[in-house]
């Protein structure tokens, strides 16, 4: 007749975020390496040359780190005040940096002393970069101007004073040596062409602009300021393509993944969000310990580096499959393939009379005991450490089955001090778990009913019972609080819907 049906272990839906391709990709980084800098890290820039060293601008120094080094390979410390925007030239030989002293310094990466100093700005220079032809330096300053400098002669080539507030960010076009873009605290993003006297395009971001970024194709421009990240279509004359509001504090930095398919934004709210550039939806989210001021991705996304206000530089390296192999090392010797196919690949001849052995269904230990109606033994078998600690859902499923059979009380009764303390420790561990709470509360009640008489005989059990009581009381308070919050939210929602309707 029908065979014994094994106890069904219910599967619970996995809570939290869904695992997507993106989460897998972005989770594939090692635990971060923390490097302490002297002050807030305002700029991180990767050298375009292999081995892709990166320059970290923090306080009055610019440190250059190797890809896997914890100590700086080189540092430029000749700043008298805070340095800003240490940026490599596209050949990786020169480094330019602005500073609070209104100076722009140009360094040879292999040297120590500044090659050139460009004077002209009257206030701090927060943004410096090289133009695409490598011979010019762009700069944006708190004196509301942005200027173009000739590198060898250290002369000012042109000056634009269209902005009406601090110029804090900008980016040169990589395709056209004459075009560059600046963002300012006057809420505008302007596109300049060095061949023209005035700006060629102006976009109103709506908030002080903290960072601008050009897509590799340079058809799209991203600007960040306030809580918004906006994407502009340059080819349509600067129309807003999409406006993203996923942060709850000012967005300070932007960065593009190496393939150009993902956009990263870091914010003072300590989150880095990853957007897909096709749908502009957040596909992943990183949390950091402090507000983020700068973020950079190594070429090929090999590492994510974030600089924070507390001066900590967080470096996350990508996991490589080779690394894992090294850790795994010696693999266990497995039986040969032929062991498994033994006797199974025999093909019966045409006239052979087939006698099949009845397949014996494998039953777990607890099922075997349940089949024999040995309820106490069944419960014992699921209270073994490896079951109750690793798979508490199995233990709970068996308890549920015993309850369904009406024999839970019999199974719980008749335990000695050790058995009871195991049972109680299981309860303490799991009774507040929302998946198990309904049945485990019944169990707790039964246990108290059965063992009421022996309370006071064992110090271990008494301690555990007190702990259980404390736990349940705490949980009740907690639930009550949650209900209160829910009530508050309900009133809020109710007022919102009432407003909408008229």
């Amino acid at each position: 007749m029908a065979s014994y049906k094994a106890t069904r272990i219910p599967s619970f839906p996995r809570l939290g975020e869904k695992v997507t391709q993106d989460t897998l990709y972005w989770r594939n980084y090692k635990t971060p390496v923390q490097i302490k800098e002297f002050g807030a890290v305002t700029k991180i820039d990767f050298s375009p040359l292999s081995p892709h060293n990166y320059a970290v601008t923090a306080s009055t120094r610019i440190h250059i780190y190797g890809p896997y080094s914890q100590e700086p390979v080189k540092s430029f410390t000749r700043f008298k005040d805070t340095a800003y925007s240490g940026t490599f030239r596209s050949d990786g030989q020169l480094l330019v940096a602005g500073s609070e002293e209104a100076l722009i310094r140009l360094f040879d990466v292999s040297g120590r002393v500044a090659l050139r100093e460009y004077t002209g700005h009257s206030k701090a220079v927060h943004f410096t970069d090289f133009s695409a032809d490598r011979f010019h330096i762009l700069s944006g300053s708190d004196d509301y101007t942005c200027r173009l400098w000739d590198i060898p002669s250290s002369a000012e080539v042109s000056r634009y004073s269209e902005h009406t507030d601090y110029v804090r960010c900008g980016t040169p076009s990589r395709l056209n040596p004459d075009v560059f873009i600046t963002g300012s605290y006057d809420h505008t993003v302007k596109v300049f062409d060095s061949r023209k006297e005035r700006s060629v395009m102006t976009m109103d971001h709506g908030q002080p602009v903290e960072s601008v970024l050009l897509f590799p194709s340079e058809g799209l421009l991203v600007s960040a300021g306030g809580r918004y990240v906006k994407v502009w279509d340059m080819l349509k004359g600067g129309q807003v393509l999409v406006s993203l509001k996923n942060h709850h504090k000012t967005v300070t930095c932007l960065c593009m993944s190496s393939t150009g398919q993902r956009l990263l934004s870091g914010s003072l709210d300590r989150h880095v969000k990853v957007y897909s550039t096709t749908t502009y939806k957040v596909v992943h989210n990183f949390d950091y310990a402090a507000s983020i001021l700068s973020i950079a991705l190594a070429p090929n996304d090999d590492s994510i580096i974030a600089g924070m206000t507390n001066g900590v530089l967080s470096v996350k390296h990508k996991k490589h499959p080779e690394d894992r192999k090294m850790v795994g090392g010696t693999s266990r010797h497995r039986p040969a393939y032929r062991v498994f196919v033994k006797g199974k690949n025999y093909m019966p001849k045409q006239d052979d009379f087939l006698v099949r052995k009845r397949e014996k269904a494998h039953l777990k230990q607890y099922d075997k005991e349940l089949k024999r109606f040995q309820v106490s033994k069944a419960l014992d078998s699921v209270l073994k450490p490896h079951v109750r600690l690793k798979t508490p859902e199995v233990t709970v499923a068996v308890i549920q089955e015993l309850n369904r059979r009406g024999t839970l009380k019999n199974a719980l009764a008749g335990r000695d001090e050790k058995g009871l303390s195991i049972l109680l420790s299981f309860l303490i561990r799991n009774v507040v778990d929302s998946r198990f709470a309904p049945i485990l509360l019944t169990v707790a009640e039964m246990v108290l009913d059965i063992y009421m008489k022996v309370v006071g005989q064992s110090a271990v059990v008494d301690k555990q019972i007190l702990k259980l009581q404390e736990l349940v009381e705490k949980e009740i308070d907690y639930q009550q609080e949650l209900m209160e919050v829910l009530g508050m939210m309900d009133t809020l929602f109710a007022t919102m819907t009432a407003k909408k309707e008229p």
Partner: protein
């Protein structure tokens, strides 16, 4: 098989009787089962019902083999008659009229010409009497020759047993066992105390006597079995006690040799006790449902148990199940029709859904919904399937299972099952525990084919819409169902829900208010209310009447709202207990209660006048009803049966009788088909038969095959009716398949030579026309050649030759005629 009621409707009682098998009697080839007022004869090998012995007009209470003729059987009934049947042919031989209600019947080898029956005495007691059967001829005989044997016996057939070929009779009643010896003509009575010290309940439930030893086995309410010996003395009797059953022993039976004692009870485990070996026993576990009766074939090779869930299990003495005869199991869910198999779906075994083919009156399969080991124990709260729904395509099945131990602890699981084409069955897709805080009161699928939606209404005041959501990002998971919308209306409790035929509107009944929602936007479109009285049933009109919404209330009102004008179209005061729309037409069936019986109205929502009405369809109320689509539209219906042309109405009464309506032409068909069921080789399989029968059979077959060759040739022209005949005859009455195969394939073939003959003849004709008189000589010369060609044993043309001929046929010979004309 089918019982005729006055008029149009008939009762289906499928399987081994809708009124559960009350008695079973097993032979090697046949299984007799008393059910209701008929005795069913089943074949043990094919599980088919061979005969129905009909003649009694009240419940059949006893069934015994005639000890002098093993092809005859006695039956007795509450109508006061004892009938003798030839069960192999299904013929009533004789009727003995007793004139009192008969509660049981026994036959003993010791007393030929006498049967023992249990008759009621005055003051609610019963007595066992010997009834001498008069040997007068004639179909109906009065039998009044009664001799009292034992007084104060139990009317239950199981509580009395004849021992040692009829030397004594043992009967138990209450706490007393009485044994009467025919030789000594003396009665011994043994009593047990009502309660032992351990709180045992000692009442007798059943008695069995050892066939050739002085031993009586008795079953008790607390599950004990006592084996009584030495009971021919008043004082020195002894008994030994065996205890395995945890609840009452329902049935006890010794095997014919007396080597084993079979017992069964609520545990649904058949226990085989070895006689004389103490408490050594074997088990046949998990038989599915409580064992009610046990029977063993006279040669001891087959055991048979009848179960509470309308099932008879036949097993070999090696404990292998050889046959299961399963009838429709009573349940609580709605009746559903599976659109794929056209099978009726309702509760089956505990925790299962059964798929029951109405066309074949046979259970197709059971779908395990609960997927838990069923513990057969009285007083245990079991998980029950309370609701089920199938979508219009038959690709999704939704089930609700409930388990309520006490009012606070309610377990509800909503399960959704996807139909798997490759395995041809439903597979669990999503399981949602606690879908609602309270019980789920109604559930329905939307009719929309693209986006299937399920709506459930719960006692917690919400209705929920569930959608199949695909998670393309999620790893290794297919589509699963999730909640799409939770709706409520003024904290009222929703009772009914219903989708319009196209799935664009959802009607939910909240108390006395009907709300109509748009499932695409979840906007409340309109509300209808017809107070007082809560909404009991809701349904949308179909096809041309889809603008109407029908509702019935508890205050005897049937309302029809027009959805276009949002107003009440018409209403009528009928106490409608059930409203059922026909999915294939506009018709609606409404069952209304009227003074102890139920009336049926069939109407179209567009007009309040019924198309058809039938008073007093059945006694009591109708529980469930369903329209099952027919395989083919019924032609030639008169006006009163027009509504039956597309689908057929089945309904389930309070007494768990499944009934349906049929037209006159169908009745004739059924009678015809029941006549076909005649078994020819019903002779018992004896060693002699095995030796001789086989030989004769093969002889006959060769003869048959010789004769049938010619027969097949003759039948060839009208091949298709022959095939139909072949396919429609039940398999068990046909000769072996290997024999039929040849014939069948032959009948399908149109032999090639025939075609070629035709072709060549045509060609001759064509040529004849063209070269009329001129070639007369050659034609006459060809004539005999053609004849010879036909008679040739292998009339084969090579491919090339054929092609040549065809080319010749196609060639234009008009130039020849023009030449002739000129």
């Amino acid at each position: 098989m089918y019982r005729w009621q006055s008029g149009l409707w008939r009762l289906i009682d499928p399987g081994p009787g809708w009124i559960f098998a009350s008695l079973i009697h097993l032979f090697v080839q046949f299984l007799l089962c008393a059910s209701g007022d008929a005795v069913h004869v089943y074949s043990t090998s094919t599980e088919e019902r061979v005969h129905v012995l009909q003649g009694h007009v009240d419940l059949v209470t006893g069934l015994r083999l005639n000890s002098s003729n093993h092809l005859q059987v006695y039956s007795c009934s509450l109508d006061g008659t004892v009938k003798l049947w030839d069960f192999t042919d299904g013929i009533l031989i004789k009727t003995y009229i007793v004139g009192h209600k008969i509660f049981s019947l026994y036959v003993s080898k010791f007393h030929e010409g006498t049967v023992f029956i249990i008759l009621p005495m005055e003051s609610k007691a019963f007595q066992l009497v010997a009834l001498h059967l008069p040997k007068t001829t004639g179909p109906e005989v009065e039998a009044r020759d009664i001799l009292s044997v034992l007084r104060d016996v139990s009317p239950i057939p199981k509580a009395t047993s004849f021992g040692r070929g009829g030397e004594f009779v043992a009967s138990a009643s209450g706490l007393q066992l009485s044994v009467y010896f025919f030789r000594k003509q003396k009665t011994y009575r043994f009593s047990l105390k009502a309660n032992d010290k351990k709180g045992a309940r000692n009442r007798f439930t059943c008695v069995a006597s050892h066939p050739n030893d002085d031993c009586i086995a008795t079953g008790h309410e607390d599950g004990k079995i006592r084996l009584w010996r030495n009971f021919s003395q008043k004082k020195e009797y002894t008994y030994s006690t065996e205890h395995w059953h945890h609840s009452a022993v329902n049935a006890l039976h010794f095997t014919p040799e007396g080597t084993e004692l079979l017992s069964g009870g609520v545990e649904s485990v058949l226990v085989l006790w070895r006689y004389g070996a103490g408490s050594k026993k074997d088990f046949v576990p998990r038989l599915g449902s409580a064992i009610e009766h046990i029977s063993v074939s006279p040669d001891g090779s087959l055991y048979c148990t009848s179960h509470k869930d309308n099932k008879i299990v036949v097993m070999k003495s090696s404990r292998d199940i050889s046959a299961i005869i399963q009838g429709l199991v009573k349940g609580v869910t709605d009746l559903l029709i599976d659109p794929r198999t056209k099978a009726l779906v309702c509760n089956g075994k505990p925790g299962h859904l059964q798929f029951f083919s109405l066309r074949h009156d046979k259970q197709l399969y059971n779908l395990d919904i609960v997927q838990q080991e069923y513990i057969h124990e009285a007083g245990l709260h079991q998980c029950e399937v309370t609701k089920a729904a199938i979508d219009a395509q038959g690709s999704w099945l939704a089930t609700v299972e409930e388990r309520q131990e006490n009012p606070e602890e309610l377990d509800i699981i909503l399960k959704l099952w996807a139909y798997d084409e490759s395995t041809q069955s439903f597979h669990l897709n999503t399981s949602i525990s606690m879908a609602h805080e309270g019980q789920i009161s109604a559930m329905c699928f939307s009719g929309d084919a693209e986006a299937t939606m399920l709506v459930t209404t719960g006692r917690d005041g919400h209705f929920k819409a569930w959608l199949l959501a695909d998670h393309p990002d999620a790893q290794g998971e297919g589509a699963s169902w999730s909640c799409d919308y939770v709706g409520s209306y003024h904290r009222r409790e929703p009772t009914r829900c219903c989708f319009s035929a196209d799935g664009s509107l959802l009607a939910v009944g909240f108390g006395e208010v009907v709300t109509v929602w748009s499932p695409s936007t979840w906007e409340l479109l309109v509300t209808f209310s017809q107070p007082p009285g809560d909404i009991r049933d809701l349904c949308f009109g179909r096809l041309s009447c889809s603008k109407y919404l029908l509702g019935t209330t508890t205050k005897n009102l049937l309302c029809c709202w027009n959805l276009l004008t949002c107003s009440l179209e018409w209403s009528s005061t009928v106490d409608v207990i059930l409203l059922q729309p026909d999915p294939l037409s506009e018709n609606m069936a409404a069952f209304s209660r009227a003074s102890g019986s139920t009336d049926l109205f069939v109407f179209k929502p567009s007009e309040p006048r019924p198309l058809f009405s039938q008073k007093a369809v059945c006694s009591g109320t109708v529980r469930r009803a369903v329209f099952a689509p027919r395989e083919e539209v019924l032609e030639g219906c008169d006006e009163s049966t027009q509504w039956l042309s597309c689908s057929r109405l089945y309904f389930l009464t309070e007494h768990m009788e499944l009934m349906t309506f049929s037209t006159k032409s169908e009745e004739d068909q059924i009678i015809a088909s029941s006549k076909q069921l005649v078994i020819d080789d019903s002779v018992a399989v004896t060693p002699f038969y095995l030796l001789l029968g086989k030989h004769r059979k093969s002889q006959r077959e060769t003869q048959d095959s010789v004769s049938s060759h010619t027969a097949a040739r003759i039948q060839l022209p009208q091949g298709s009716p022959a095939i139909r005949e072949l396919l429609h005859t039940p398999a068990h009455v046909l000769p072996s398949a290997s024999f039929l195969c040849n014939m069948f394939v032959n009948s399908l073939l149109i032999s090639k030579c025939r075609e070629e003959e035709m072709g060549s003849e045509e060609e001759e004709e064509a040529e004849e026309q063209e070269s009329e008189g001129e070639m007369e000589a050659s034609v006459s010369a060809q004539g005999p050649a053609v004849q010879g060609f036909q008679t040739e044993p292998t009339p084969q043309l090579s491919k090339a030759q054929e092609r040549e001929l065809r080319k010749l046929q196609k060639a234009d010979f008009s130039w020849l005629s023009s030449l002739l004309d000129s």
